[in-house]
């Protein structure tokens, strides 16, 4: 069975004004639940803090959406830091970095080449039907990559 663990997870991605979590302001947040083999895009959360909702409001919505579900993401620590900024408190949820999963997979196949961890390369290599050109697309790509990498790990 691909996913004996039937807990839901949440794929998350933030776009912000800077790469530096210390000064960056979150611009767009997307969060998508994953249940079994399904990515629940139909009920995804898409927020643009500061434009279509207030920062605090965005934090509340996000916290309620995530609950205690483990987080999945690409460059997750940055997104999590942004989420914490919106929440105003630390996120204790378990975190799964898909680029780390991907790295572990590639290194197992013992190639001497450096592993290309860029998201586009990862999407192409895993043959995922997605285009990561905004917060939602990146969160979806992370969700797909996570499924593909954990499903295959039989």
């Amino acid at each position: 069975m691909p996913n004996p663990d039937s807990r839901e997870r949440v794929a998350i991605h933030c776009e912000a004004t800077s790469y530096d979590p210390a000064v960056a302001q979150p611009l767009a947040v997307a969060a998508i639940r994953i249940r079994g083999n399904r990515i629940l895009t139909g009920s995804a959360l898409r927020l643009h803090p500061g434009s279509d909702c207030g920062l605090g409001e965005a934090g509340d919505l996000l916290r309620a959406f995530i609950g205690d579900r483990p987080l999945v993401g690409y460059f997750l620590d940055f997104s999590a830091a942004m989420a914490e900024r919106l929440n105003g408190r630390p996120l204790a949820n378990e975190r799964v970095e898909v680029s780390a999963l991907y790295y572990a997979r590639k290194i197992r196949t013992a190639s001497k080449q450096a592993v290309d961890l860029r998201l586009d390369s990862l999407i192409r290599d895993l043959d995922l039907p997605v285009r990561a050109d905004d917060a939602f697309g990146t969160a979806l790509a992370a969700a797909m990559a996570w499924l593909r990498l954990t499903q295959d790990g039989r």
């Binding site: 790469y19 611009l27 940055f78 797909m144």
Partner: protein
């Protein structure tokens, strides 16, 4: 302000690979707002190779549409179908029993629910044949759209036959459109025949007779134009008692129905129907240029067949028939292009072919021979399912004791002429020129006895095509006697029928081709005859033979089998529908094939990648139905033991 999505991905061009394909039927029926609603409601599922996407354990709450990869539908242990990108599945699972009641909002007629059609109750499982991605349309979203958009709802939720009919209606609308594009200009117009309003009724009648016209136009005193028809003359003079010398002016009718020469023929038809008249006036730049009769209008659509029919009837020599026969191909093209239903084309072509055969035989055979023999056609010609000229399958039954020395020469001439008309010789030699197929009734009976009791492959085929035989010329009671003997010889011998039915399964009906289709490299043409038409024809023939039915036409056999309870009514309706659709696709494939000389290629290959979206959907559904029909036949005749 700097956008940071670390590391930044270059903006890619083209469509979103995760996007839903709204170009496919029935999703193309959705409005922009409905598409947006659907796109927002979609979930995505990822399934590694060999995982179960849908099985008994999993509650089904969505309709699946393949986004990438291919999915096998397994019934029992067998692969029943393969779904490729754009294909949808899971509806049956979503809505309970196998094929039972479609859940149309309004169509409560199927009601009853639980009565679901027996046998197909085996569990379906959907397995990822390779790494797959699917869009999932949640049930609630699907139903909301179906309620919003009844056409979409019917297409998605309706059951098989209903779904086929909707698709067919969509198509006939389009073909109807082509038909209605024809202009009045294309029809024959009767030149206008004018008389002055002061002319007498007698003079009007004389003008009509002189010009063989059914009516005259009348110039009224005040510049108006009226019409006086033959019927009007009769009514005015005979019934109303007006003297023949009375002027036509006051007696003509001035409520002329007129259309411009560039108006649509269809409008003329509507106008005639609405006013219950048989002719209208045609104008050009406001001036009357002629009359269009109802028969002329209809002739635009069928003139070819009438012309050919007349050519055949008036033929004085085989050469005249050759000309008529050649125009059949043109007729098929015209009818098909005009959007005439394929079953109608088959009827017409069958009729014309038989007339040609009959006329040729009558030209060659002296009356004495004609009275003591029966010319028969067999195979598809006998079933009346001939769409194009295919191999000759014909024979002659002679009355016992009748001897005719010149027969071999006449039979050879008959076959030779047909070849020159473009009916290719039968590779198996089933034609008049072969003495095996030109023999007395007693000879046929001996042969039938052999076919039944010593069945080998050739005997099976002979029996099958002879069972389809229809009389064309001469004494039809001879064929009836031979068939009566055939049916009388059949016992309830399970072994015999198993043997007879077995060829139904001899060709594979592909189902993987649609997945392959999307991976262009493996898109292979399908032999539609072997994969779809033959299994239906032969399976139905076996069932009909078992029930001793006398009908030869496949659709009629299906209907009769349903009446006697040998076929489930639902299966019968679906099967007849599928048979018609497959025949249409087959004809289309041939007619649309590049034209070589004036003949149509005898080619049964259908290239799924060249089919339109509509046809491809239907083709796929039909092949799936053929597959389950084959299972039914295998089960019924115990072919798996």
């Amino acid at each position: 302000m700097q956008h940071a999505s670390p590391p930044p991905s270059p903006p890619s061009q083209g469509t979103d690979p995760a996007g839903f394909d709204f170009a496919r039927a029935p999703f193309d029926l959705l409005t922009a707002a409905q598409r947006e609603a659907l796109a927002d409601a979609l979930d995505i599922g990822l399934y590694p190779r060999d995982t179960a996407i849908l099985s008994r354990e999993e509650p089904v709450d969505a309709l699946f549409v393949v986004l990438r990869g291919s999915v096998q539908e397994r019934r029992g242990g067998e692969v029943a179908a393969v779904h490729g990108p754009g294909d949808r599945f899971g509806l049956q699972a979503l809505y309970g029993s196998s094929r039972g009641g479609g859940r149309g909002e309004s169509a409560g007629s199927t009601g009853g629910g639980g009565t679901g059609g027996g046998g197909t109750g085996r569990i379906r499982r959907f397995i990822a044949a390779e790494d797959c991605a699917c869009h999932l349309i949640p049930r609630a979203a699907l139903e909301a759209l179906a309620a919003d958009n009844p056409a979409f709802g019917a297409a998605v939720l309706g059951d098989f036959a209903q779904r086929m009919r909707d698709l067919a209606a969509e198509r006939s609308d389009r073909e109807m459109a082509a038909l209605t594009m024809a202009r009045i200009r294309q029809a024959y117009l009767h030149p206008p025949l004018f008389v002055e309003g002061t002319a007498s009724l007698r003079e009007a009648a004389e003008a009509m007779r002189r010009n063989r016209a059914g009516s005259v136009l009348v110039r009224g005193g005040d510049g108006r134009t009226g019409i006086l028809t033959g019927t009007d003359l009769r009514d005015r003079v005979v019934l109303d008692g007006h003297p023949a010398g009375a002027p036509v002016g006051p007696l003509a009718r001035y409520d002329l129905l007129a259309l411009d020469r560039d108006d649509l023929l269809f409008n003329a038809l509507v106008l005639m129907t609405r006013h219950a008249v048989r002719r209208i006036v045609v104008t050009e730049d406001g001036a009357i240029v002629g009359l269009l009769g109802q028969s002329d209008l209809l002739a635009v659509l069928s003139n070819h067949s009438q012309v050919i029919g007349v050519q055949v009837e008036h033929a004085a020599a085989p050469e005249d028939l050759a000309r008529a026969s050649r125009s059949i191909v043109a007729l098929i093209r015209t009818l098909h292009a005009t959007g005439v239903r394929v079953s109608f084309i088959a009827d017409l072509v069958t009729e014309l072919n038989r007339r040609i055969f009959r006329k040729l035989y009558e030209l060659l055979a002296p009356p004495e021979l004609l009275a003591n023999s029966c010319l028969i056609v067999m195979g598809s010609e006998g079933r009346g399912e001939q769409l194009l000229k295919t191999d000759q399958d014909n024979g002659l039954i002679l009355r016992d004791g009748f001897d005719f020395p010149e027969l071999p020469r006449i039979a050879a001439d008959f076959s030779r002429h047909l070849i020159s008309f473009g009916y290719p010789p039968c590779p198996g030699g089933i034609m008049l020129s072969n003495p095996d197929w030109t023999r007395p009734l007693a000879g046929y009976k001996d042969a039938i006895f052999g076919w039944i009791h010593r069945p080998d492959e050739a005997a099976q085929m002979n029996l099958a095509i002879f069972y389809d035989a229809a009389p064309v010329a001469g004494d039809p009671s001879l064929l009836a006697a031979a068939k009566g003997y055939l049916l009388g010889r059949l016992q309830d011998n399970q072994m015999f029928f198993s043997h007879f039915a077995r060829p139904t399964l001899s060709f594979d009906t592909p189902s993987g081709l649609f997945a392959a289709l999307f991976e262009r490299r493996r898109a292979e043409p399908v032999d539609i005859k072997k994969a779809g038409i033959f299994p239906i024809v032969h399976g139905v023939r076996a069932l009909a033979l078992e029930r001793h039915l006398a009908e030869t036409n496949t659709v009629e056999r299906i209907q009769l089998l349903a009446e006697v309870g040998a076929l489930d009514r639902k299966m019968a309706a679906d099967l007849a529908e599928a048979f018609t659709i497959l025949s249409t696709i087959r004809l289309k494939a041939r007619v649309d094939a590049p034209e070589e000389e004036s003949e149509l290629a005898i080619d049964n290959l259908v290239h799924p990648d060249r089919l339109g979206k509509l046809d491809r959907d239907q083709f796929k559904d039909c092949l799936a139905l053929v597959k389950s029909f084959k299972e039914l036949i295998a089960h019924h005749f115990r072919l798996n033991h």
